[in-house]
């Protein structure tokens, strides 16, 4: 008997929760705000679903109800991806060590 591919995805999912658990506990508390903004950015990888639906229409009907929702989702996710990574970058650039020459 074959194993349903769903079980494989479920395994990946469960193991990733554990990875997330251990990785996030090791994040230093002073970087918790950048952690939130970067998790925002990466969860917007949901854009891959939006791109699939945006490209699903054929040349006669690029815009149908389904693809319009896809296009909108692309923009929403893109705001998050660019906004999330850039604002994280901006924050992380501010974290500096004490200068030695004091």
């Amino acid at each position: 008997m074959e194993i349903d591919p769903f079980i494989f995805r479920l395994s990946i999912f469960i193991l990733s929760i554990f990875i997330g658990y251990y990785v996030v506990w090791s994040v230093t508390p002073s970087l918790h705000t950048p952690l939130m903004s970067v998790t925002n950015a990466i969860s917007s990888v949901i854009i891959v679903g939006a791109i699939i639906s945006g490209l699903s229409g054929n040349s006669d009907s690029i815009f149908n109800t389904s693809s319009i929702f896809g296009f909108l989702a692309i923009s929403l996710a893109a705001i998050n991806i660019f906004g999330g990574f850039l604002v994280t970058q901006r924050m992380l650039a501010m974290y500096k060590k004490k200068k030695k020459d004091k």
Partner: protein
């Protein structure tokens, strides 16, 4: 066009890069590199998606246009946003992830062929369940984050909004969501999908509305977690490994942050979610308000005390963010350091409106991160320090949490500021903090109240040093 197996491997790679992005945040030195891993992972995921479809003819131009529009808005916001508005920004971002998840689910529901999920009215059962869950969680994330955003912006009151029968109504709505999913899956009747979405938007709204302003760190972390689970739900629908991995990472990340925030307040997660904290205590408190003697001083007195100190600990809180006093504070500290006074910062886990809020503000004001300490690291040092400078914090310094079992904040970990030789407390009035209780610290022998705006007072002290 590349094969499904090859694209799955690339999605796996981008999932791994996302793990490394979070891993980088374990220290500020590695964090910037971590962020690049994240960006790189995102580029791979998007590129592979285009390649795996291979249909470059029709919709591509529009996909790129919408990508560009979103990207420009995002970049613009990221550059322009002031650091004090970070909690609002993050809440706003959460709502967008939620809405994007809803839109992708709608799109997949209307045109399942595009995703290989069956045909309209005959969507595979497993996929339909997965997309319903993704859509429900996404909708809750969206409307909940909108409420959190409005509360943080001050557009709606930050105080808890409660009404009678709130909890039974919420329980009823949650039960109806499960029933709706069941009937949607058994009948495939599309109107049920729209009702399901409407009900989910409603419950997200109702869940967050009773939660007050100072509980926002928990709410934001919780919505962060939800946005992850929504992404994972959609990931299962689309059978996309990158999305499943990321959803799980973000989901557990938000859950851990919620846990840390709850622990910082010594409250159970359910206690926060059920809401209404601070609404009841306030009335009891106003009845037995007795006049107790308070010592107050001016910037001159404060400067004198600090000039004669050898070590000072700064305790910032949300009030510092409101008054935008972080730069003025840093200038004051610079002056102190020139006089060979040792200065460190003590951050309570729930100071501010989101996890790590104070750290970002101090970093913005060029405070080196190795002068900033967490509660456990610094709490023993108060006894050996001369001056504690409390600026915009309140409940997190209240000694009542250690002494009075009747107090609503009893058991909450607090900073032991009262152990310092003297305490300078910058505050606009004697009004109680968020928890609605009087701060015992105001009336201590060694406390000097500085009644003023945090920024103005800090600047005045600097002038007098």
């Amino acid at each position: 066009m590349i094969s499904a197996n090859l694209s799955a491997i690339f999605y796996l790679i981008s999932g791994v890069l996302f793990i490394l992005a979070l891993r980088g945040l374990s220290s500020p030195e590695t964090s910037r590199q971590g962020n690049f891993f994240g960006i790189f992972g995102m580029i791979i995921a998007i590129t592979v998606t285009f390649l795996s479809i291979g249909n470059f003819s029709s919709g591509l131009v529009f996909v790129l246009i919408f990508l560009l529009i979103g990207g420009l808005i995002g970049a613009f916001v990221a550059y322009r946003i002031p650091m004090t508005a970070m909690p609002e920004l993050v809440a706003g971002f959460h709502s967008l992830v939620g809405l994007a998840a809803v839109f992708v689910a709608i799109s997949a529901f209307l045109n399942p062929e595009a995703f290989n999920l069956g045909s309209p009215g005959n969507i595979r059962l497993g996929s339909l369940i997965e997309m319903s869950i993704g859509a429900v969680v996404g909708a809750i994330t969206f409307s909940g984050s909108i409420i959190a955003f409005l509360k943080l912006q001050g557009i709606i009151s930050g105080s808890p909004i409660t009404f009678k029968g709130q909890h039974p109504i919420n329980a009823l709505i949650l039960a109806s969501i499960i029933i709706l999913i069941y009937f949607l899956c058994s009948t495939q009747y599309s109107n049920l999908f729209w009702i399901l979405l409407a009900v989910s938007f409603l419950i997200g709204f109702l869940l967050i509305i009773p939660i007050g302003g100072a509980d926002m760190p928990v709410v934001i972390s919780m919505l962060n977690s939800y946005s992850g689970w929504a992404a994972a739900g959609i990931g299962f629908t689309l059978e996309n490994i990158a999305l499943i991995i990321t959803g799980a990472l973000v989901g557990s990340s938000g859950a851990i942050l919620s846990y840390i925030m709850c622990k910082g307040m010594n409250r159970s997660f359910f206690n926060v979610i059920l809401g209404g904290f601070g609404a009841t205590e306030q009335s009891i408190n106003s009845q037995n308000k007795e006049q107790r003697p308070v010592k107050s001083g001016n910037a001159d007195d404060a400067a004198f005390l600090m000039k004669n100190a050898s070590s000072v600990i700064i305790v910032p809180g949300y009030g510092m963010a409101v008054a935008q006093a972080q730069h003025a504070l840093r200038e004051m500290v610079d002056t102190l350091k020139k006089n060979d006074i040792k200065v460190s910062y003590a951050i309570h886990p729930v100071a501010g409106r989101m996890p790590g809020h104070m750290n970002v503000l101090l970093a913005e004001a060029n405070v080196p991160y190795d002068e900033v300490f967490e509660l456990e690291e610094i709490n023993n040092d108060f006894a050996n320090s001369d001056v504690a400078f409390v600026i915009g914090a309140n409940d997190v310094t209240n000694p009542v949490a250690k002494t009075d079992p009747q107090s609503p904040i009893y058991g909450m970990p607090v900073l032991d500021v009262e152990k310092c030789k003297s305490v300078l407390f910058v505050k606009r009035s004697l009004s109680p903090g968020y928890a609605g209780i009087d701060n015992d610290l105001f009336y201590r022998e060694n406390t000097l109240m500085l009644f003023a705006d945090a920024k103005k007072m800090t600047e005045d002290i600097t002038k007098n040093l």
